[in-house]
């Protein structure tokens, strides 16, 4: 660590993993009534390199900091899709473009983007759970020739609660060899698409496990049922990947709370395939 006598401490994100680097909010997109996507960058672009599925700690300095998956790592900025659920996210939803935030990271293992090359990809998301999947989905689009056919199955409680609507309904269906299936929990007048829960819709679509990797994220209860459905459909444990959420404070495997058994979600996760997950206690 360098001498603190004269520095302005802007670059400490690199030397002390618990100290944030400052970024500015460039753009805010209202995805749903309680989800906003924040586009952030530092003076010199992205504060650090992130791979799909990795996490970063975002802080509104006077309020607190929280761990979020990076929902897209663009070349010159990072995107965080954040649902308003607590004290910090409430404060984040109140900020405007131009606000300075702290970020530190990246944390965690991320999705196995290399191992999935050449495979057909099946993404299954629920609610805000599409945020981490989106980092991988867009990565597959960016390196489209490296991946096979892509199917995206996504559901939310209602039409309004669907995140990334423009991408979901306009952009992604235009990508070659990409199919998007969307469902909501209950019928609505303004919705003429599929109605029902994600696991049931998944079984109805019944995508073949042949040469496919399934990646799922959503509320824990949805993940549990999706895993059962995939097993029923003939997916082996190695073909199924999920990303987990736990409360985190440090991000570097020290503060203790994000363990499942002897694994720390911030460090060894958040991404696990089902083979790994089945070795862990069912405590998530």
């Amino acid at each position: 660590m360098h001498d603190h006598g004269e520095c302005n401490c802007k670059d400490h994100g690199q030397t002390n993993p618990l100290v944030p680097t400052m970024v500015k909010v460039l753009k805010i997109v209202e995805e749903t009534p309680d989800v906003k996507t924040f586009y952030v960058a530092g003076e010199n672009g992205i504060p650090f390199k992130v791979m799909p599925g990795q996490l970063a700690m975002v802080s509104q300095l006077p309020i607190g900091e929280g761990m979020f998956s990076v929902s897209w790592q663009a070349d010159d900025h990072l995107q965080f899709a954040i649902k308003r659920v607590g004290l910090l996210t409430e404060a984040l939803h109140d900020i405007e473009v131009g606000q300075t935030l702290g970020v530190r990271g990246p944390y965690g293992n991320g999705f196995p983007v290399e191992a999935c090359k050449g495979k057909d990809m099946l993404f299954i998301g629920g609610g805000i759970g599409l945020a981490p999947l989106r980092s991988f989905i867009k990565y597959c689009f960016k390196y489209r020739q490296d991946y096979g056919k892509i199917k995206i199955i996504y559901g939310a409680r209602s039409y309004d609660d669907l995140c990334f609507k423009q991408e979901l309904f306009e952009e992604w269906p235009q990508v070659p060899d990409c199919e998007v299936f969307v469902t909501i929990d209950n019928p609505e007048e303004k919705w003429n698409g599929h109605v029902g829960f994600v696991p049931a819709y998944l079984e109805e679509i019944n995508p073949s496990p042949q040469g496919t990797i399934a990646v799922t994220c959503g509320p824990p209860i949805m993940i549990k049922f999706v895993l059962q459905s995939l097993e029923k459909m003939g997916y082996s444990d190695e073909q199924v990947i999920t990303t987990l959420e736990m409360r985190m404070k440090c991000g570097i495997g020290k503060c203790g709370r994000c363990n499942i058994g002897s694994e720390f979600i911030c460090l060894d996760g958040p991404v696990f395939d089902l083979t790994q997950l089945k070795k862990l206690p069912p405590e998530w």
Partner: protein, 336 residues
């Protein structure tokens, strides 16, 4: 052998304090623990206490520790100053059990991917004067947890000679350095080391970690946890419990982010915004604590996270006793 006579201890601590923060066992407001030495005639050293109520983990992991200060004015925000707790430190009188706990903390904070800079700053120039333990207490079971209480691995080991005089045995170059600083107070003397009393409590934990790997869903956890009130006392007095929280203190346009001890006994520890909690009930929290001590830490770092100091056994207000917990865990059948 060199001896630190009882009437020279204050002088020795004053000398060491000239260049370092010296932590000594003391009584403060009816609570014993390791505090920074200042030669105040009102405050006695607590050398007769077997195990201080609070462990010495605060030397490397203070109960509350500033991490950095920041300013937040309008839309602007910036980190102003990152805390740098580097400096010379000495710990005087630590027992072998607490020293073994410190080794476990080193594994947690300095290995497996990241070094914790704040911990490292406090730890790297820490000189250790350990006190051999000849008279263990009724709840002590350190030897069962692999502690060498008579020969702890320290820079200097001191041995009680009665009358609060100590035989002084330097064991490392750092220990020799401390010795040369104290050459004016240490005297050369023939000594007879005391007879070590036997430990009353013994427990065999061979194979326990492996057995526990198959016991996560065992019904015994309901029975074992029934008495626990989730008060967290065990976690605060434990020398090897190290979980921490990170919180913020904001006043107007400035503030600081700090960390403080946390406890896995509390519901909020794993409670997520939105309400989901993977360890919602006390059985789950109780189980996680004991498995962390006896299985999880072992799987990750190769050692147990209990060192047999007995503090939790003595201080639990509802009589949860880790020795009885271990006995029960060993006794129950596991379905294949």
């Amino acid at each position: 052998m060199k001896v630190l006579p009882s009437d020279k201890i204050r002088e020795a601590l004053n000398i060491l304090s000239g260049e370092a923060e010296v932590y000594v066992p003391q009584m403060r407001d009816d609570v014993s623990g390791y505090f920074i030495w200042a030669d105040n005639p009102q405050v006695e050293l607590a050398l007769d206490i077997l195990n201080t109520y609070m462990s010495p983990k605060n030397v490397v992991l203070p109960q509350t520790e500033n991490m950095y200060s920041f300013s937040a004015v309008g839309q602007d925000a910036n980190v102003v100053e990152v805390a740098n707790p580097q400096g010379q430190r000495v710990i005087f009188g630590i027992k072998g059990c607490d020293l073994k706990a410190l080794e476990a903390l080193d594994l947690a904070f300095l290995t497996k991917g990241y070094e914790d800079e704040f911990y490292k700053a406090r730890r790297q120039n820490l000189a250790i004067i350990a006190r051999a333990c000849y008279t263990p207490g009724p709840a002590c079971f350190c030897e069962s947890m692999g502690v060498d209480r008579l020969n702890p691995e320290a820079d200097v080991v001191i041995h009680d000679l009665g009358n609060q005089s100590f035989a002084w045995e330097p064991k490392t170059p750092k220990g020799e350095e401390l010795t040369s600083k104290l050459q004016g107070v240490l005297v050369e003397q023939d000594v007879k080391l005391p007879q070590a009393a036997e430990l009353k409590r013994k427990i065999d934990i061979t194979g326990l970690s492996e057995k526990l790997a198959g016991m996560f869903e065992h019904p015994v956890w309901d029975e074992l946890s029934s008495r626990c009130m989730n008060c967290g006392t065990c976690t605060y007095v434990c020398p090897s419990c190290y979980c921490f929280d990170i919180q913020v203190n904001t006043r107007g346009e400035a503030g600081n982010r700090f960390r403080c001890w946390d406890s896995c006994m509390y519901r909020e520890y794993t409670l997520m915004a939105g309400g989901h909690n993977p360890r919602e009930y006390k059985k789950e929290r109780f189980r996680n604590r004991f498995l962390h001590k006896l299985q999880f830490f072992n799987e990750r770092y190769g050692v147990n996270l209990c060192i047999g100091c007995g503090r939790c056994v003595i201080l639990c207000p509802n009589g949860v006793n880790i020795l009885e917990v271990i006995d029960k865990l060993k006794e129950v059948q596991v379905d294949a």
